[in-house]
Symmetry: C2
Subunit: 148 residues, 2 copies
């Protein structure tokens, strides 16, 4: 079926086809937007998609984001106190720094090799498949402005 080499399709259309998803304008626009502006929230994506395509319903964007996330083309992150955000860096086990004041998000690669804190000391019988690390602090801009 997927005869064509899935080596590294550079186009968004290729990404969609390889994932077994239909190619539609909203999906291409959402993919492009999240690749262009990582850590976008839904509202930002909706606005960007409408800039490109004109009239697109909010639900379409929610549906597309879910489909792309389920297909592994996007990753959903949800820092406490913020609406959900989406990024295109996928399957590379990186983490995030979140600014307590303005909510800005940055990517942080794993320090300790591939799996930093992946093993809990006593997982209480849980079968763990992912360790998510969130660093909380102040972004450079907020350190400068709000001194206290």
């Amino acid at each position: 079926m997927t005869e064509l080499s899935t080596a590294a399709p550079p186009t968004f259309e290729g990404l969609l086809r390889d994932a077994g998803l239909r190619v539609t304008a909203p999906r291409l626009a959402v993919l492009a937007e999240v690749h262009a502006a990582p850590h976008s929230d839904v509202d930002t994506v909706v606005r960007a998609v409408r800039d490109r395509l004109g009239r697109v319903s909010t639900q379409a964007v929610y549906d597309v984001l879910r489909a792309l996330t389920d297909a592994g083309l996007l990753r959903r992150i949800e820092p406490a106190g913020s609406p959900a955000r989406y990024e295109a860096r996928v399957r590379d086990n990186h983490h995030h720094v979140v600014c307590r004041r303005c909510g800005a998000i940055g990517d942080v690669d794993c320090a300790t090799g591939a799996a930093p804190c992946l093993e809990a000391s006593d997982p209480q019988g849980f079968l763990i498949d992912e360790a998510e690390v969130t660093y909380w602090g102040l972004c450079p801009a907020c350190q400068a402005s709000g001194g206290s």
Copy 2:
């Protein structure tokens, strides 16, 4: 001011006074409930408080939870996709395992001593004050029931 030794006041009333908070029935009830049932969500706390005290407004519970959290007597955790939950273990830097299916939460002590992944490889200029680790997986019960 705080002349009396704040060594280890065993009563909830003592905890409140030492934190400079007024002692009220809703606050005592909330403290007792969260100590008794860690990782409770707001609705659970509301029900428990009403069981003890009779009529208590939902807002009172929200206000109390915020006041106790700000005072450092409770800790608020907010796993993605779940409503906020509260626990009484505070200032001991432990982490959580969350069941992907049923949302159950367990405590996990730091494996690597006091600060496991506390230092990001490249914090991008962020001033980090906390590293929050969430382990995702399946709790024992969900492993047993939903095999697939």
